[in-house]
Amino acid sequence: MTDIPMPLAIEMSGITKFYGNLAANDSIDLDVRVGEIHCLVGENGAGKTTLMNILYGLVHPDEGEIRIFGEPEHISNPMKASRLGIGMVHQHFKLVESYTVAENVILGQEPKKSLFIDRKAAYQITKDISAQYGLAVDPGALIQNLPVGVRQRVEILKTLYRGSKIIILDEPTAVLTPQETKDLFKTIGHLVEGGKTVVFITHKVKEVMAVADRVTVLRRGKRVGILERGNITETALTTMMVGREVMLEIDKKPKQLNGVLLRVNGLTAKGDRGNVVVKNVTFNCHRGEIVTIAGVEGNGQTELIEAITGLRKVLYGEVCINNENVANHSPAQVRAIGLAHVPADRISIGLCVKEKISENLIAGKHRSHTFQKGIFLDWKKIQEYSKKAVNDFDIRTPGCEELVQNLSGGNMQKVVLARELLFQSDLLVAVSPTRGVDVAAIEAIHQEILKARDSGRAILMVSTDLDEVLQLSDRILVMYNGEIVGEFDPKNTTREELGAYMIGARRQEKSTEAAVESVVTHG
């Protein structure tokens, strides 16, 4: 590696942090040059967040030194970090929803006119900073009315207003749609042009390739390597992150269809705001087949799945599982007929995070005779069952008595998957099954889904990740603006073609005709 002497913004050396016996950081070195985009990558639990929390003064290291712009510093709290010019955008935004953009930006360091807050100045400051760094926001807009991508921009503005020279972004893309991610990358470009240094935490290889000047890879609390732009390849990165070669191409057996299991006919449903967001959707899914609904988030996929699984009212149309119409049945009834469901929102719907792992694993089966002893629950059997599931699905936890809220995001998702796959139901509906999950776990989850398919179950998947869609599906349906606008064989299509349908630039005509027909019949 050629080492041109370049000024360093951050110099962390020998950082060690123990939690009990677990070394979250094990003498990690991190050098970030002034004005670069430095990616920090690693699987869930690799120690990325701990390292950044140390830098931001939220966590104090057991050992190690930190230099900021060459000066040795002891960062005791976030206020100190802020004074040193370090700003952090957390995964979960810290914004006041009922305040405007400008009010949020100045909150805590308000420009004053005698005793009062100078709102005009606040407005102007926000405008100036956003113009300077190309961050398009309306200073007068209320946060509660803004989409996630714009809220993130406000968070970045906040750090800029506080004079940050180093901006840490903690998994900023986890909550963004593909389009918003693109916009974020542009923003990051503007920041660097403006002389800022950016530390970008992620575990998505594609994003690293797109933005990184340099990458530091962590694995299990240790630094395993640094790559410079030009040396960054997908295989090199994943091998470093996982410690072995991950099968990026999925080995798939030919499909063996065995009759239609799920038939959705003319399904129409309203969204939360009362407008129709699922419009005359018709498709079916066979046993032994993975049908994927691809689309940009917010085009009715969530509502469609909710309508199929009994969580949302069906306005018109049929949902037949095994030839039984389950439209407007309760989730309990649909499950009884043969549904397993991995929902998009695992924290507020897919799990009860304040209960134990074991309780989450048996929920839904808790009435079965297997887990009863007389009138009581058989906790011993529940324990055995949970232990096995935790082992089989490689859920990393001290024990199945642990509360789910103490698990990392990837392990939470594994709990949902374990529970739902173990239902052995005929139909598996999985929404973004690998979102927020690290590379090794993605592979395992894909294998489980394929296993379910090969055992003759029907799988309906929803995903915004085109790689996943192309690798896993037997058939792809593209949903745009509440309608199915195209049907594709993954072998005969490309990312570009799918992309064009996803953003509504193209559509296959026959599906509209079918839609019109069903309006007439159901209207």
Binding site: A24, A332, H341, S348, I349, L351, E355, L377
Partner: protein, 358 residues
């Protein structure tokens, strides 16, 4: 939901204990300002509430209805239902228990008592169920309806006790006395402590077993913690919530029936000095745990009885106990604040434990 404002688990225990100790400390200051000796006052209080069999019996007699109403509120809170209508449910149950106790005749004692208490439980339960139904089916706010239901229940039973069922020449609104076969056994001549206390202990055990070891308890708890998850996973949340409201009202109804059959001997208007409302405090302070409900109920009983003793021995008026209770209530209400304070302190000292996950 009320429950979500409060800490969980051991944090709950420590904040509760802290609230109580703090209340006694503030009380001590007030006693000193009053020119009395707080150590003498408190030792008298303990002596006269727990110091002898008779005193202990008096304390437990006061604790008995609080255990029932505490259970009533705890069942609802754990299922995520803000039922604060225990007071009205208690009155409805008391009237039902009284009427069955009066008008059923010639039954063996155990049978008569069982039927009377069951009648109280069912009528109290229905008085909860109705408002649960309004909440589940018509989305009517449960807090509002159950507050109103208190007045409805109290005034309706008061009407019954003043008109249709009032014995001639009775000085106040009341029914006639229940049959002897419906009287709960009293342990001592000098105390109203009766077999109702044993029923209360049994109900505490039932409550603990139900929530920790049965599938329905598991469903109720899950509904209380995450209603959306419960529905998604296939629990019939509306049906279970209605049963929970019935159980909640049922416990309050038993409180009323036991008060009639064991203490008053008949229904008397205004017979409850706010046991239903106290139940809310008991449940909150106890963190809905069975041992907690028992401990807090006895504490409240001891305060009431001890206050009377203090007045006899020192110059401190018996209102001291009301003051202490009021401070505890204030501190309980502020528990969320204390909890937040402890949490930030802990963060400062031990840093973010959760950051090990990245």
């Amino acid at each position: 939901m009320v429950e979500s404002l409060f800490p969980k688990g051991t944090a709950r225990f420590w904040t509760a204990l802290l609230s109580i100790l703090l209340a006694f400390a503030i009380g001590a200051v007030m006693i000193i300002v009053n020119g009395d000796n707080p150590i003498l006052a408190y030792s008298t209080m303990i002596q006269s509430s727990l110091g002898s069999v008779n005193n202990l019996a008096a304390t437990l007699a006061v604790a008995t209805p609080l255990i029932f109403t505490g259970l009533s509120v705890a069942v609802a809170f754990r299922t995520g239902l803000d039922n604060i209508g225990s007071e009205g449910q208690l009155y409805m149950g008391a009237m039902a228990g009284a009427l069955v106790g009066i008008y059923l005749k010639g039954l063996p004692t155990t049978v008569h008592i069982t039927i009377s208490i069951l009648a109280g439980a069912i009528v109290g339960g229905l008085w909860g169920w109705i408002f649960g139904w309004l909440n589940v089916k018509l989305k009517v706010n449960l807090v509002v309806t159950t507050i109103m239901a208190n007045y409805l229940g109290i005034l309706f039973t008061s009407y019954l006790a003043n008109y249709p069922f009032k014995p001639p020449r009775a000085p106040i609104g009341s029914t006639t006395f229940v049959q002897d076969s419906a009287r709960l056994y009293r342990f001592f001549d000098s105390s109203t402590l009766n077999a109702g206390f044993l029923i209360a202990l049994a109900m505490l055990v039932v409550y603990a077993l139900f929530f920790n070891y049965t599938k329905f308890g598991f469903e109720w708890k899950t509904i209380g913690l995450n209603r959306f998850f419960a529905r998604y996973i296939g629990m019939n949340i509306h049906r279970q919530m209605l049963w929970a409201m019935f159980a909640s009202g049922g416990f309050a109804g038993i409180a009323g029936a036991v008060e009639v059959l064991g203490v008053q001997g008949r229904f008397v208007q205004n017979m409850s000095p706010g046991y239903g409302y106290d139940g809310i405090l008991v449940a909150l302070l106890a963190g809905n745990s069975a041992p907690g409900i028992l401990a807090v109920s006895i504490l409240f009983g001891a305060l009431r009885i001890g206050g009377i003793g203090v007045e006899q021995v020192t110059n401190v008026p018996s209102e001291l106990s009301s003051v202490l209770r009021a401070i505890i209530i204030l501190l309980v209400a502020a528990q969320a604040v204390i909890f937040a304070f402890l949490k930030t302190r802990r963060k400062k000292h031990h840093e973010l434990g959760s950051t090990v996950r990245s």
